[in-house]
Structures are given as structure tokens and as C-alpha cells.
């Protein structure tokens, strides 16, 4: 995955994406969701206006696809404790009401959208299962905090 060979323009576009957009996002889960949001739900194609202007639509698409897969595998390989910390950071950065956020995520499971195409099914399941567990941990912490 990390050894994925990128052709030169794609490599440049990928680095541009890292420097201009991804490094501003404070957590791995946030980066993953951002990258997933650049994918068209109907066609599965990735698009990013700024990147496509600087490079080309095709190069930008490849760079986004590679970045998405890498971000996904990074989050899928996080330990549960790390994922809970990452999810808490994402929740904080969203500035939403934590209780509402956790309830909505447990009901709608929006993180499923973050799974790239053609990834190993076991990894996809492990990712979704870990997020479910991380949400349950945060809700438990929240209820313990409220009881005090």
C-alpha cells in the first residue's frame, strides 16, 4: 500500500494534495472522510477543482484515489485506543453537539461511505466494526461523565 508506485505527475499532485489540503485536517479520520467526500457517489470517480486546475482531471483523480486508499488503510490499522482518540479529535473539530453527533453516527453509520472501492472485504469490515466500537466507547465515556 505504502509502496504503491505513482507516476510522476500523480506523485506531484499527491504531494500537492498533502501539503495544501490534507495537512490542515487535524486527524486521520477527518482526512479519510474529506477524501471520501471528493468521490462522486454515482460514478465512483474522484474530483477536486483546485487539483484538477493545477494538474489535469485524470491526474487529480488518480492522486485522490491513492490518497483515499492510503488514508483508509491507515485508519483501519489503528488500534482501538488510537481510533477512539482520533474519533474524539474529529468530533471536537466538527464543533457539533457531541451527544447528537454520536447518536447520529451510530444510527446512520456515515463512515461506511469512507470505504474505498475494491478494498479487501475483511479490512472494510474491520474498519466499520472498529468505528462502531469507538463510538460505543465515546458514548460510554460521555454517560459516565454526565453521571458525575
Amino acid at each position: 500500500m505504502s509502496a504503491m508506485v505513482k507516476p510522476l505527475p500523480v506523485q506531484e499532485a499527491y504531494e500537492d494534495l498533502l501539503q495544501r489540503s490534507l495537512c490542515r485536517i487535524p486527524c486521520d479520520l477527518g482526512r479519510l472522510l474529506y477524501l471520501a467526500s471528493t468521490r462522486d457517489y454515482n460514478t465512483g470517480n474522484y474530483h477536486h477543482d483546485g487539483l484538477a486546475d493545477r494538474f489535469s482531471v485524470k491526474v487529480a483523480r488518480s492522486a485522490l484515489e491513492i490518497a483515499h486508499r492510503q488514508a483508509f488503510y491507515k485508519v483501519a490499522a489503528l488500534s482501538l485506543e488510537e481510533l477512539v482518540r482520533d474519533l474524539a479529535a474529529y468530533l471536537e473539530s466538527s464543533r457539533e453537539n457531541p451527544e447528537e453527533f454520536l447518536r447520529t453516527w451510530q444510527r446512520l453509520e456515515p463512515y461506511r461511505i469512507a470505504i474505498p472501492m475494491e478494498v479487501n472485504p475483511t479490512v472494510a469490515r474491520l474498519f466499520a466494526s472498529n468505528v462502531r466500537l469507538a463510538l460505543a466507547v465515546l458514548r460510554l465515556r460521555q454517560s459516565t461523565h454526565a453521571d458525575r
Binding site: 482501538l80 478494498v119 479490512v123 469490515r125 466507547v137
Partner: protein
Amino acid sequence: MIGVWGAFAGALVLLLVLLAWVRAEASSKDSRSDWGAADQEQSEGENVEACSPEIVSQLFSAADSKFISGLESPGLENLFRRERTAVALHWVQETSAFISKVMRRHLEASRLRADLEIATEARIFLQYARLKLYCGILFVLIGLLGPQRLAGTALHAERFIQRVGEGLVEFQSAAQLREPEGSESL
């Protein structure tokens, strides 16, 4: 008398294995229901990546189990056990399906060859049978003990399956390369 007790113990073990199998099947069916179509489509795709050893060790990780135990919530511990068991069982099924696919391809390629070596074919079949047995045992053990106690066994199985799987693929590629030469000589 010992014979009766032996038979009784044997029957009890068999019953336990059967129960574990049924439990494991039920867990994997539960998790299959909402992923079914996506899984089938993905496992049929040629570009799907194999599950890496890092992911397998993450799946069977004792550290995650310790983290959850530290939170002292029985409900969360139950959820964790259920979730991990379902994913681990899915991994075993996926691995087993991968082995069958490689073997099926090998058989298809073998049917077209004129220079089949019985000893090599027998060795390949034995390895295939061993892998399938390994998957079956792992499936039952995960259902019985849960994945966290089987981290070492799972990683060993993963390496073994990977090695034999690669061997089968290499053998198949070599056979395919030899095929045009064989047809020319005919």
C-alpha cells in the same frame, strides 16, 4: 468400561465442536446479512487486495481486548467480543474461499496439460486439503474461544496460507508458461 467412557468423552467433544460450529456460523451469518452483496461483488473482483499480516494481527490483537476490559463495561465487552468474532470468522471464510479459487484455477490449468506429474499433483492436493482443514479448525476455535486467544495461531495460519497460496500461483504460472512450448513440440 474405559471404552464406554472414551466413547462418551468423544461424543461430548464432538457435540462441543458442533455447537461451536453452529455458533460461529450464526455469528458470521449475522454480519453477512448487511454486507452480502458488497462482499460478493468485492470478492469476485480481480483487483481486490489480500488481507495484510498487519491487519490480521490487528484483528486478533490482545491490546484492543485489554483496552476494552480496562473500561469495565460488560456491555461494551460483549459488543467487542461479538464484533471481533464476526470479523475474524469472515476472514477465515474469505481465506478459505481464496484457497478454493486458487485450487480451482490450478485444476482448470491442469486439465489442459499433457505432462501432468502425479506426485506433484498429489502434493498440491495434500497442501490444499491441509489449508482447508486449517481454516475449518480455526473457524471452530474462533467460535469456541473468541479471536483474542488465537492471535499466534491466526498469524501462523496466515503466513502458511500465504506461502502455500503463492506456491500454487507460481506453479500455475510456470505451467501456463510451459504450455505453449508443449503445444509446439506436439
